[in-house]
């Protein structure tokens, strides 16, 4: 069995969520078959500049074939086109222009898939929103399997992706919420799909004391791991945590791990350690009282899964359906939407040792049952087997014609998004 993993960026230094997800999956599937990664020469997701050499190289024992990006992203053009398709009545042509402006535009990659599709059994396309997935899935035809990593943002409301969700051979969802979202927007219930997610290589014996000693950290603390960005909810996190600090009963500090795009509030109980390697990251999680996930948009929070794997409770943003659903399904985390809830839940975790311990134990069990690597690998392999037995691939929608591309009758993506169902999917899950 030969599998192609197609992703926008790839490499050990690439730390984006979907990219890391793709790398983990590629490396673990490589134990069960031949895996080749098809990707671009870009490492920066903002510019898509060609920074790596085109050609084939090995990364952790997996062959990686890189293709040039035709042009870098122009932020001004991309911004204008985003405004157009997200907020106004527009045409299919506008959406295709937006996709081209978003990048990474790599016709060479699509051409390769088109000409070598028969060389692979399946193509795993990661991240539905990018150029490579839209055009590559069409080129791969019945061999295309999509790992959408969809979030509840405006992009899901664009019309060009609805045929994509209906025409791929199968979809590997990250969460029940993601599946509900995609099925609601595209009506692809007939397409085979399974909620898989991703595992994580969590060390068996993280050293909390080592972390405290190395970074001179004393006292209890909550940890945030990830890019410190407004889009990740960090601004709200800072506001809420400063509100928590005003409460004299709270003793927790906040430790921030990751590169920052925001100014960090100056307070003796808020510390930013910058980007840490995996060892320190897991040590920090093991030392923390809880992990805070303030993000509004997540298709699957790998950091939350890692915290659960280490037996630590998670405090998540309840405005994110996926995180809220994960907390409810696992019984391993609390969530907040307001300042009062943030303080109340954080104090509950801090002051109630039994509760924190129970949440952590539930999280560890939830991780083992659903996100341990043998479980993930088994789900992928079962899907391949299933597709091998089902010989009827769905018919792909034809590309729109000249008039269809120019008919200004598509609603704004944000209006489409507003009509989609909300809330966690946990009773059914």
């Amino acid at each position: 069995m030969k599998i192609a993993v197609v992703v926008q960026r790839y490499g050990q230094a690439v730390n984006g969520g979907a990219e890391l997800h793709a790398r983990y999956v590629a490396e673990h599937l490589a134990r069960h078959g031949q895996v080749e990664v098809l990707t671009t020469c870009a490492t920066d997701y903002v510019t898509w500049r060609n920074e790596l050499l085109a050609g084939v190289e090995q990364v952790n024992g997996v062959a990686v074939r890189r293709f040039k990006v035709k042009h870098e992203r122009d932020p001004l053009v991309f911004g204008k086109r985003s405004d157009r398709v997200f907020e106004q009545l527009h045409s299919l042509g506008d959406e295709l222009d937006w996709l081209d402006a978003e990048g990474p535009t790599s016709p060479a990659l699509v051409d390769y898939i088109n000409t070598h599709a028969s060389d692979y059994d399946y193509f795993l396309f990661f991240s539905y929103r990018y150029y490579h997935a839209y055009y590559g899935a069409r080129a791969a035809g019945a061999r295309a399997i999509l790992v959408p990593t969809a979030e509840r943002d405006e992009t899901i409301g664009l019309s060009i992706f609805q045929p994509l969700f209906r025409s791929v051979r199968a979809i590997m969802y990250n969460s029940p919420e993601e599946r509900a979202l995609i099925q609601a927007v595209s009506g692809n219930e007939t397409v085979p799909g399974v909620v898989v997610g991703v595992g994580s290589d969590v060390p068996n014996n993280p050293q909390a004391g080592r972390f405290r000693q190395k970074y001179n950290i004393r006292g209890p603390f909550a940890v945030y791991v990830g890019r410190i960005d407004q889009n990740k909810g960090c601004k709200e996190l800072f506001e809420f945590f400063q509100g928590y600090l005003r409460d004299p009963s709270g003793k927790l500090s906040l430790i921030l791990i990751g590169n920052t795009l925001l100014p960090i509030p100056e307070h003796k109980r808020i510390r930013h350690l910058g980007f840490l390697d995996d060892t320190d990251k897991f040590d920090a999680m093991a030392a923390a009282e809880a992990l805070i996930m303030p993000s509004y948009y997540e298709s699957l929070s790998m950091v939350a899964l890692e915290a659960w794997a280490l037996g630590r409770p998670v405090l998540a943003n309840g405005k994110c359906d996926v995180l809220k659903g994960q907390c409810l399904r696992s019984n391993a985390g609390l969530f907040y939407e307001t300042l009062g809830e943030f303080i109340g839940t954080l104090e509950a975790i801090e002051q109630n040792r039994w509760l924190a311990g129970s949440l952590g134990r539930n999280g560890r069990q939830y991780f083992r049952d659903n996100y341990d690597w043998p479980v993930i690998e088994r789900k992928y392999l079962e899907m391949f087997e299933r597709l091998k037995k089902d010989g009827t691939p769905p018919a792909a929608d034809p590309l729109p014609g000249w008039f269809d591309r120019r008919r200004q009758d598509l609603p704004a993506a944000q209006d489409v998004l507003a009509k989609l169902p909300k809330g966690p999917v946990w009773r059914r899950g």
Binding site: L89, L334, E337, L339, G344, T345, L355, S358, L359, R406
Partner: protein, 432 residues
């Protein structure tokens, strides 16, 4: 588990979250989510307005001035790729279709079709956008109206509150002034007694105070030329009382002569009936003309009475001054007045205690920071005269006994100049 209870062994996050929310509601009140706040903000203006709070027809007028918006029907056309060649006559349509290749040979109609098609779409989009803008503008007008209305209401409420506060400030300042004057009068009475006991009766010069009192008090009485020297009216039977009232004055002074040295006249040496007699005397004065009688008695007896007798008269005048200040005719004020008198008397009894109290009085005076007390030593007597007229007395006496108002007004200035530094402070000068 300090904050909430989880009764089952297995954790139920939904249950825990509900308990946390309940606790937050109990502790901090309703905690609105952003969604709830947006819903509240989206409520229409009329739901916000409390009809009881709106006292004008501004809202109706505003609605009349702003009829519901209906977007105008702007002209537009539909233009598709076959529009140019359409016709209701079938042969013509057939001919046009037949000749289409020839037409396309001569020129390319597609750009024209495209342009007109796009223009049609643009017209529709623009019309829709204009309608949206107009409706948004009108919604903003509603919001502005609401803001202005709320501002007007709040400004009115604030104005009323400011007015109320001003009145309260005036009331408090007048009460403060009144209390200051009362305290000053009480202190001056005590100071006088203390200073008096330091001096021997022989050394003490005859007070000059009665003279101005004699000059001031009779003046209003005799200034009107038409006023008879005597008071024949039946309501002026009270002036006959001076004789009766004046007589206790002399006995009041007499015991002081025979009193133990150090005893203040009119205090412990006097009999139990003297206090009630003095009260009766004051009541008689209030009843009419008694002050004049007292003044007359004091004036007439000034040359005859010994210094102690004069002091006792002055003490009575002090008390009268206090009486005028706080007497509103009610039994309570009478009692409080008596209590004040008793305190004054007690204060002036114990000479040794007075000396000890001097130092305390100095301290308390500094603490109280009363300007008149600080200025008293250097100020001549006329400085104390202006605050003496009791404002509460004037309306009570003016309508009934105009002829007796001057003695009441003039009596306090007739007080002898006290020795200001010897004022014992018992810390409770206020009889109330």
């Amino acid at each position: 588990m300090p904050d909430f209870n989880v009764r089952s062994d297995s954790v139920n996050v939904e249950q825990i979250m509900e308990q946390i929310r309940v606790r937050i509601r109990e502790k901090r009140g309703v905690d609105y989510t952003e969604q709830q706040i947006r819903e509240l903000a989206a409520v229409k203006l009329e739901k916000f307005l409390d009809p009881r709070g709106v006292r004008s027809d501004l809202l109706d007028q505003f609605r009349k001035a702003q009829p519901p918006y209906e977007p105008p029907e702007l002209p537009n056309f539909a233009f598709e790729d076959a529009t140019l060649f359409e016709s209701h006559r079938a042969p013509i349509r057939w001919m046009r279709k037949l000749l289409m290749p020839l037409l396309k040979l001569l020129f390319n109609p597609n750009p024209l079709i495209q342009a007109l098609h796009i223009q049609s779409r643009l017209n529709a989009i623009n019309a829709e956008r204009d309608a949206k803008r107009e409706s948004a503008r009108r919604a903003m007008d509603q919001l502005y109206y609401e803001l202005v209305h709320n501002l007007v209401v709040e400004t009115t409420r604030t104005g009323i509150e400011v007015k109320n506060l001003k009145m309260r400030v005036e009331s408090i300042s007048s009460r403060l002034e009144f209390n200051e004057r009362r305290a000053r009068a009480l202190e001056s009475a005590v100071v006088y007694k203390a200073a008096d006991q330091d001096e021997t009766p022989a050394q003490r010069p005859a007070p000059q105070v009665p003279q101005p009192r004699q000059q001031q008090a009779p003046q209003p009485r005799y200034t009107p030329p038409q006023q008879p020297p005597s008071y024949p009216a039946p309501s002026q039977a009270a002036p006959a009382a001076p004789a009766a009232v004046a007589t206790p004055v002399a006995p009041q002074g007499q015991p002081t002569q025979g009193a133990v040295p150090g005893q203040v006249p009119g205090a412990p040496g006097e009999g139990p009936g003297q206090r009630s007699r003095r009260r009766r005397r004051r009541r008689g004065r209030r009843g009419g003309g008694s002050a004049a009688a007292v003044m007359g008695a004091a004036g007439s007896g000034a040359s005859e009475a010994p210094a102690d007798g004069q002091e006792s008269i002055d003490a009575v005048d002090q008390m009268d001054a206090m009486d005028r200040m706080d007497d509103d005719g009610s039994p309570e004020s009478e009692e409080t007045h008596d209590a004040a008198v008793e305190r004054v008397e007690e204060a002036s009894i114990a000479e040794a205690e007075v000396r000890q109290a001097e130092s305390a009085a100095e301290g308390s005076r500094v603490e109280q920071a009363e300007p008149p007390r600080v200025e008293a030593p250097s100020e001549p007597r006329p400085v104390e005269a202006p605050p003496e007229p009791a404002p509460a007395e004037a309306p009570r006496e003016t309508p009934h006994e105009p002829s007796q108002e001057p003695p009441h007004v003039a009596a306090p200035p007739a007080e002898p100049a006290p020795a200001p530094t010897a004022a014992p402070d018992h810390g409770d000068h206020d009889p109330k």
